[in-house]
Symmetry: C2
Subunit: 353 residues, 2 copies
């Protein structure tokens, strides 16, 4: 396992949950390849409610599996939809840990530019445990990395930074393109290992990919939510935009609460799956909707009364309904799902105390 | 010379000026090492007016030198101060080319992570000739680079991007830290080659280092200006903040005029020079002033009437005088110098037509 040149962070095993949404039933290769990285942590596996086959999971891990019936039991009368890629959000809900790391089940550990296996969990937690710097851009990337610092001109008053709530990792091999791009560039593979982590500046929006992320559940948990579901959504990433929506909710909340979002390392190795050509028809719905979604999130502002993540999400949902509700039914459904999610989050939280 | 993996850009020799501010008299090693990169372009060398010795410049280059007396002739009655690192701005003024590339005279060509010599001019011009994407962050960095693209969720309406006006390069070996940081971490050297270019998002401010930059003179020329001079300024980068100020002017102008600013590649190799400890006393002035400078540039907004770069700079100067003028005399002097610079820029421009 590489030493990734970050300031040392000691990771406590009991502070991390690995959450895996199982969209395929045979997790053998996935778990075996991740064994050196995952085996010391508790793993929450959510079986996609639409998946019929029994899960195959190799032994030697500390894991728990949630299937449809177990999920139903926890959810009670709640109508939150956890199918497909949204299954992972159930894991976010039931986790009690400080940090959550989540990786799609078609991704394997990557190797860095020196050929070392990347410890994606260690890198994500390092990103989250070190401060973020959203209020002024540092041209030498993450100033808290070993061998780096704040460059000349960076105001000292901003050098303590703020807490980092969200860490968005990247992908080698098959990058996270939409279906049209993937269809046009079928042979394109991402081979460039960019050895950098950076804070996304405040008020700048970015397309968060759910493929490889981690977050501080205590700081921003309820903002990572399932709500934006395309009417014809499939079981391939490029047929979905639920994570893009969720990422922009989280970014708006982080900006409002003065928390940081980082992007860059760690990479995962993304395997091929599905045909982009087949998905083209479905994907255009998501692609078209982004033209409304991005301006909305770029301009939405929360009130000073929104002091918790739950408050913030409820305010965003109200704004979605008001500003986008008339444009497409998907937005009204998303707003309702956000409210429903916050209710469920609060219920689960109340049951614990 | 490496192929740097960018979309091919054909650089016309007559579109580029290399501008060098000579703060040391012997440019032999500097020019020899840059020969493979610089020799096909016209070079404007400005001799620091405070430098007494004759310049030593090897033969085989297409260059012109401006000394104090020649500068005086061009400037007429103007009082713009071109001493020290500000000397280069005289070159920006007299250039007639589309693109300007400027590198400090204590920097040599770097090698990339594969050991290839970096063609900093080609990389800068590629940055400038390809669009920038300031209105939404692309997590895979520059989408116009070979092998890269816009990631899923990136709205198609923003994928054409905007013109790139400014390209800020980085430094291997001695990074551009301020004197306190350099004094504390005397042995720290930057060895991490981050193979990335990214657009700094709109409204995010960054500390532009003048050590290694390029810009489109036709788009943003007058915003790269000498004006913010510390009272005790020396001949070492970490004793100055003129470039940081100038970079923030340029960023505000670019944001207002919907132009892009990129940062990242190319790297240059920065040699050691001077003692950070000796500079500590001087530097604190600049460090303290940044606490006023950054909030100012983060919040200043220009009027719709500001439609040229010259208009924008004049509006910024007025805001500096109004908002910062009472706090420190350096700000009033900077505002006056900005106005004086725009006058001189317009005069030179008028003489050409």
């Amino acid at each position: 396992m590489e030493s990734d040149g970050m300031l040392p962070v000691s990771i406590r095993d009991d502070e991390v949950d690995i959450v895996i949404g199982a969209l395929q039933h045979d997790l053998t290769q996935f778990m075996e390849e991740w064994r050196p990285v995952f085996s010391r942590f508790h793993i929450i596996i959510i079986k996609d409610p639409d998946l019929k086959e029994e899960l195959k999971i190799p032994s030697g891990f500390d894991y728990e599996v949630y299937t449809q019936s177990e999920m139903q039991h926890v959810m009670g009368s709640s109508t939150v939809n956890f199918s497909g890629y949204s299954s992972r959000y159930f894991g976010y809900l039931v986790s009690t840990k400080k940090y959550i790391v989540s990786v799609d089940d078609d991704c394997l550990p990557a190797r860095d530019d020196k050929g070392n296996l990347v410890d994606a969990v260690a890198q994500h937690i390092t990103n989250l445990a070190n401060p973020a710097t959203p209020f002024f851009f540092n041209t030498l990337y993450d100033p808290f990395r070993e061998g780096a610092d704040f460059v000349r001109g960076y105001p000292f008053s901003l050098r303590t930074g703020v807490s980092c709530a969200l860490s968005c990792g990247l992908w080698l091999n098959l990058a996270d393109y939409d279906a049209p791009t993937q269809a046009i560039k079928q042979r394109q593979r991402n081979t460039r290992y960019v050895d950098a982590v950076l804070t996304v500046p405040a008020r700048a929006m970015m397309p968060m990919s759910g493929i490889n992320i981690a977050f501080n559940r205590e700081l921003v948990g309820p903002a990572l939510l399932p709500s934006f579901r395309l009417s014809n959504e499939g079981k391939l990433r490029w047929e979905t935009v639920e994570d893009i929506w969720s990422g922009m909710c989280a970014k708006v909340v982080c900006d409002h609460l003065r928390l940081g979002v980082k992007t860059g390392l760690p990479y995962v190795w993304r395997k091929e799956r599905g045909s982009a050509i087949d998905s083209l028809k479905k994907e255009w719905e998501g692609v078209k909707l982004m033209e409304e979604v991005i301006p909305f999130f770029q301009t939405v502002r929360l009130s000073p009364q929104a002091v918790t993540v739950e408050d913030c999400v409820v305010e965003i949902a109200a704004a979605v309904k008001q500003q986008l509700g008339q444009k497409d039914a998907v937005f009204k459904r998303a707003a309702d799902a956000m409210i429903e999610w916050i209710k469920l989050w609060k219920t689960i939280k109340a049951q614990r105390t």
